[in-house]
Amino acid sequence: MDSVAHRLSVVGAGAALELRGVTRLFGALAALTDVTLTVRPGERRAVLGSNGAGKTTLFNCITGDFPPTSGTIRFFGEDVTNFPPFERIRRGLRRTYQISALFPGLTVHDNVYLACCGVSRSRFSPFRPRGNDALMQSADDLVQAVHLTAVKERRVAELAHGQQRQLEIALALAGAPRFILFDEPAAGLSPTERSELVEILTALPGHIGYIIIEHDMDVALRVVESVTMMHNGRIFKEGPPQEIESDPEVQELYLGGGHDLGERYG
């Protein structure tokens, strides 16, 4: 008993993210059923699954947008199950949205600046920033990190879709992120933009772990070291990318049609 308890506590303290028995019901519909998941600090993982598999609901439970119906969520050892979203964000959790959730009336720079304020103490500051303000500087750096310096004074409403997706990532990098949830960052991107995205993701500092939901296997499997497969709100397989890709059950459920077509016509 002792050794089991000890091992559990070690796992708990060592994990960036630890979900135990997380279930989320929408009325009678179970969007997530008994999901248990452990992700190490710095680990990069893909969550794959067909539409309705519960991937985005999983993200919403982790960030606190919807509290889980049952189960616990720990973030770097701390039980955050009942925390409001902003408390989790202030502890280093970040997310991006499947459909860009930006501030279209503000400039690119002001969007990122806002994100920097949110995780700093000056979020209530009634004073305008000066030119040498540290947050203004870090906003500039982030804009550069996602290759948007050329359009930084443009209003977000005027940006191309691909640029908005890049900005979406910049907002998630503000402050000192420890773990990021990327919800389909490549949605609607051109092949060139996809490789740029892969570049941005692989350039992230090693201590920042993430979970990425991505339908494009070429993107997903190039930027992760482990894969979790979901189906009907349950996790049914976990493993390294090569193993998952070659797993017959996975191929049948998820990759099957696409790969056959690819071989036939490709």
Partner: protein, 360 residues
């Protein structure tokens, strides 16, 4: 969803009004603004006592109260109908704590003690009301703040111990120091002007600070703001606190202006007037409420004579205001300011892009 958006009184495209709130823009080069400033400063040379206080003074006072609504509605997406109630409470507290003709009620504190206390109490009241209202959105915020406004109206009507019931408090003593009667027309005009400029400047400054920028973020996408680490409700309550302070300043000026206050000054129809002023002027910019207030005061003052002259009941001036409100809301949801901006935008487009018309 559409109800919420309509209730917020936001124009369809919030992006169209936002550039003015960026971090970098300044207005110092605008000659029209300088001309307006000079006219306001030398106004006592141009206008007689009636125009100075009854028209321009009253306009600025109503403008300050409506500005507090504009700040909440325009930048925070929260339509509060209790701004006049907060102003009214500040006025009542000035009368109760200070000196007035009702010696059995007024405590007779000197103005420099009574006024800050009145502002503090009204700000606290508005902040607590805001804390209740932020639990709701859109039309429900309007309902809660309307309920607070009408409850306060009935309370002042029925409470005799503090509010002196429906007769209210009369002959309120106004500040008199350094050998100046600050309620005399010209000094009072400058007091009003100073407060109005201060409030206008504070709002204009605040919307480009992290606090103001975040408030606009909360208006546009509260869920995303929470995902950026902002406590959305705390931000909204802070906005109510600031707006309550502005409204309280307006209420103090109001009670000094009329030297009396009664439930009629805080009635629901007066609260609606503030909403009309803000919407007619435009809630996208801090100048809007002042433009709306000027139109309102001019109509209220002069349509009476005009209507009587053409054979109608003078009290029908509200009919004209109502019609004007309908026309504005129908043709320009962002008020006079919006009309003016579109007109100016068309002019600029015509100058810089002669071919632009082909696309339209």
């Amino acid at each position: 969803m559409s109800i919420t958006q309509n209730a917020r009184l936001q124009p369809d495209n919030p992006a169209a009004v936002a550039p003015a709130t960026g971090l970098t823009r300044t207005d110092f080069g605008n000659p029209a603004a300088w001309a307006l400033a000079v006219i306001l400063i030398i106004m006592p040379l141009i206008a007689n006592g009636f125009f100075l206080i009854e028209i321009f003074g009253t306009t600025l006072i109503l403008g300050v109260v409506a500005l507090s609504l504009m700040f909440l509605a325009g930048y925070g997406g929260m339509v509060s109908l209790m701004q006049l109630t907060i102003a009214g409470l500040a006025g009542y507290m000035t009368a109760v704590l200070g000196a007035s003709g009702n010696a059995n009620i007024s405590l007779g504190w000197p103005w420099w003690l009574a006024t800050p206390m009145a502002i503090a109490l009204a700000t606290l009241f508005g902040t607590v009301g805001g804390a209740l209202a932020v639990r709701t959105e859109g039309i429900y915020t309007i309902m809660i703040t309307l309920a607070i406004a009408s409850a306060f109206y009935y309370f002042t009507n029925q409470n005799w111990v503090i509010f002196n019931g429906h007769t209210g408090i009369n002959s309120i003593v106004t500040p008199h120091f350094w050998g100046v009667d600050w309620r005399a027309d010209i000094p009072f005009y400058y007091v009003i002007l100073a407060v109005a400029v201060l409030c206008f400047g504070a709002v204009s400054y605040l919307v480009r600070t992290p606090f103001g920028l975040a408030l606009q973020g909360v208006r546009d996408n509260p869920r995303r703001m929470a995902a950026l680490g902002f406590n959305v409700n705390a931000h909204r309550v802070a906005a109510y606190a600031f707006a309550s302070f502005v409204a309280a300043l307006g209420g103090i000026l109001q009670v000094w202006n009329y030297r009396q206050i009664s439930p009629g000054s805080v009635g629901v129809e007066r609260a609606i007037d503030i909403l009309i002023i803000a919407v007619v002027g435009g809630i996208t910019r801090p100048i809007g409420p002042f433009i709306g207030a000027l139109i309102f005061v001019l109509l209220r003052t002069f349509t009476l004579d005009f209507l009587v002259a053409i054979g109608f009941d003078g009290n029908r001036f509200r009919l004209l205001i109502g019609l004007g409100f309908l026309v504005i809301v129908l043709f320009s949801p962002d008020g006079i300011v919006g009309l003016w901006e579109r007109w100016r935008g068309r002019g600029e487009q015509g100058q810089t892009q002669p071919g632009g018309g082909r696309h339209g």
